[in-house]
């Protein structure tokens, strides 16, 4: 992580998504700022309850795809129509119906690769990246909620601990500095 200053987090562990979701709703309703929730699998609509905006990755994919379409048409038109015009099968130099397959494939290729690259960059994922794990069991069977204490100056640590316990954490909330 870029900043060297350590933040103090309170980590709550949940056993079940059906406890987690109401807890997220109510903790947020109480005005507590949740730093992030870590889950072993995609919990349906958790991002909505956490107040995240809908991802714009699909729009990025569309832009990459359309770039692929135009590049493919330009490439084929240039190569067969201008760089070395050649009559093939008695047809025109530039035969757009015959360009459809390659154009389609390059559209899909650029859209897929572009979107995946955007996904990796926006989530700071890549070979050699280190994961920040509040609890290693969040990749197994636990749902881990991290609350940044510095972002919740309204509440004391005890108050947040009490709130977490009230809404069904399965173990005593623990502190973690990162």
């Amino acid at each position: 992580m870029a900043n060297t200053e350590k933040n103090k987090y309170l980590v709550g562990i949940f056993d079940d998504e059906d406890v987690l979701i109401p807890a997220v709703k109510k903790i947020r309703a109480r005005g507590v700022n949740i730093y992030e929730v870590y889950t072993p699998y995609p919990v349906h609509d958790l991002d909505v309850y956490l107040g995240y905006k809908r991802s714009r990755l699909s729009k990025a994919a569309f832009l990459f795809g359309i770039t692929g379409t135009f590049l493919a048409i330009l490439m084929q038109t240039y190569m067969l129509g201008f760089a070395w015009p050649m009559i093939i099968g008695g047809k025109d130099y530039v035969t757009y119906p015959n360009f459809v397959p390659v154009t389609f494939e390059l559209t899909v290729l650029l859209a897929a690769l572009g979107m995946v690259a955007t996904f990796l960059i926006s989530n700071n994922l890549g070979p050699g990246k280190q994961a920040v794990m509040f609890d290693p069991r969040s990749t197994d069977d636990k749902f881990v909620m991290a609350i940044d204490l510095s972002a919740n100056s309204k509440f004391s640590q005890e108050e947040i601990e009490k709130i977490l316990t009230e809404y069904g954490v399965s173990e005593k909330p623990k502190e973690k500095e990162l």
């Binding site: 807890a23 889950t39 995609p42 958790l46 397959p101 979107m115």
Partner: protein, 482 residues
């Protein structure tokens, strides 16, 4: 009288190897990670050894092919395309199931795909690599394979011919391979993170750490991950249909009687799904047995796949009959002869093998008892793939071996190099598959966990009384805040 629809089977079975109790999230992690973490067992070593022996023999014939040229094959002046292209089309077809399962079934919300998609996608990638190896083999001068790409070159600027289906093939197959690989790997990242967090050996932890790209499983990452999976599925759906369509153009755009058919694209795609599912079943039934994955690959999964085999097998059957009807209806004597020769000429045995394996054998799956019988399924999955290999052989060789000039009518006889090159692809395929099965999780743990609860009412991760109290107090808390 009233018909009650049966309750849907749970997607995850009980822990039959451990007191038959309900499966929990932690069981899923343990069961799938077990074979990755344990040292390789004897069964795996034996399977790997056999694959490597086959691969070694295939490598020898591959050496003969590349250093002495394709004259080593049984090709002749009339039949200029035979086993190589048969194998190519066969492998590409097999490579259709993985992306179909992960993309089309995702769009159709078929949750049963979750426990088979990982292995099916891996199989897809390896099958497409095998298909690609036949492209390289039949080039004669494989070191010039890059000539198929539109690269600037020393001959002025002479480019590839974008009017040619063979060039479309290069783009289709390489795009398909790349996108399938990316789709597969994105799905692997969360599970690799699980293995990383469990790893005790520092080397394993380092390697899986590198491979898992620093995945932390935060809600934001998951939300974006789901978006990526959805869009990739949307992109892959037309892609998977386009690949075999373009492969079929290799034949359909020619003017050879027997190949010059507009029905080829849908017919090839159905055949591809048919053979792909059969191969998935063959591999999954073995994997299920060797790794004790019965709770995850249930009889219900096998039945669903058998239904798809029945559907696509019947589509293929209709296509065979339509081809015959169109040959007669076209009134073209060459077209008619090509089909009469196909069924009753010297290759009649290949044709009737194809008909028996592809059209008759899947009809057993009309019966529920057959669909749910693992032995029948395993046997038929192999029969189907034999049939599909013969389908390609029949289309390719019987259409070529008797052309317009009876003086050049010949038979095609494969040499040991033809056979060896085919074995090479088997060795290559199974070596990669066994390596995958040993070092990577064969089932998508995260996705199975995601369907565990909704599909299994008796799952161990169900409500406790305290939780219900919390959920019920939801409304009272809201009032309190207000």
């Amino acid at each position: 009288m009233q018909l009650t629809s049966p309750i849907r089977e749970p997607l995850v079975g009980r822990q039959i190897h451990d007191e038959n109790r309900p499966t929990t999230y932690h069981d899923i992690t343990n069961d799938i990670c077990r074979q990755v973490e344990a040292p390789p067992n004897m069964r795996w070593m034996a399977a790997m050894a056999i694959s490597l022996i086959v691969l070694a023999w295939g490598s020898y014939t591959l050496y003969r092919t590349w250093f002495f040229g394709i004259g080593e094959w049984g090709l002749n002046k009339t039949v200029g395309w035979a086993w190589d292209i048969t194998n190519f089309v066969w492998w590409v077809g097999i490579g259709h199931a993985g992306t179909l399962i992960s993309a089309i079934l995702l769009l159709f919300r078929q949750k049963w795909r979750t426990s088979i998609n990982r292995a099916a996608e891996a199989m897809t990638i390896f099958a497409v690599l095998c298909a690609g190896s036949f492209i390289l083999m039949h080039m004669g001068r494989p070191w010039l394979a890059y000539w198929a790409l539109p690269l600037p070159n020393t001959y002025g600027s002479l480019w590839v011919n974008f009017n040619s289906p063979l060039v479309w093939d290069v783009f289709a197959i390489s795009t398909y391979l790349t996108v399938s690989l990316v789709f597969w790997y994105i799905g692997l990242i969360p599970d690799l993170a699980t293995i990383r967090e469990r790893a005790k050996n520092p080397i394993a932890r380092f390697i899986y750490g590198l491979l898992s790209f620093g995945w932390d499983g935060s809600a934001k990452t998951w939300a974006r991950y789901e978006m990526v999976a959805l869009v990739l599925a949307g992109l892959s759906t037309p892609l998977v249909l386009s690949v075999h369509t373009i492969v079929s153009f290799d034949f359909a755009t020619s003017i050879i009687p027997g190949w010059h058919t507009t029905i080829f694209p849908p017919y090839f795609v159905a055949g591809a799904i048919f053979s792909g599912f059969a191969m998935v079943l063959t591999l999954m039934l073995i994997t299920r047995y060797v790794f004790k994955l019965e709770p995850y690959i249930t009889v219900g999964h096998v039945e669903s796949m058998n239904k798809i085999i029945l559907l696509t097998g019947s589509i293929v059957g209709v296509a065979y009959l339509t081809e015959f009807f169109m040959a007669w209806y076209s009134g073209v004597q060459y077209e008619r002869y090509a089909f009469v020769n196909r069924a009753f000429g010297p290759y009649w045995w290949a044709y009737w093998t194809m008909m028996t394996c592809n059209v008759i054998s899947p009809q057993f799956f009309w019966f529920k008892a057959m669909r749910r019988n693992l032995y029948v399924t395993f046997a038929l999955s192999i029969v189907v793939n034999i049939g599909m290999w013969f389908e390609r052989f029949v289309i390719i060789v019987t259409s070529l071996h008797r052309d317009y000039l009876p003086s050049s009518w010949v038979m095609f006889y494969p040499t040991y190099v033809d056979v060896g090159d085919y074995l090479f692809s088997f060795g290559f395929f199974f070596t990669l598959f066994f390596l995958f099965a040993k070092f990577l999780p064969v089932i998508n743990m995260a996705e199975v966990k995601a369907v565990l609860k909704s599909s299994n009412p008796d799952s161990a991760n169900s409500y406790s009384e305290e939780v219900e109290a919390v959920v019920e107090s939801d409304t009272s808390v809201k009032k309190e805040i207000e």
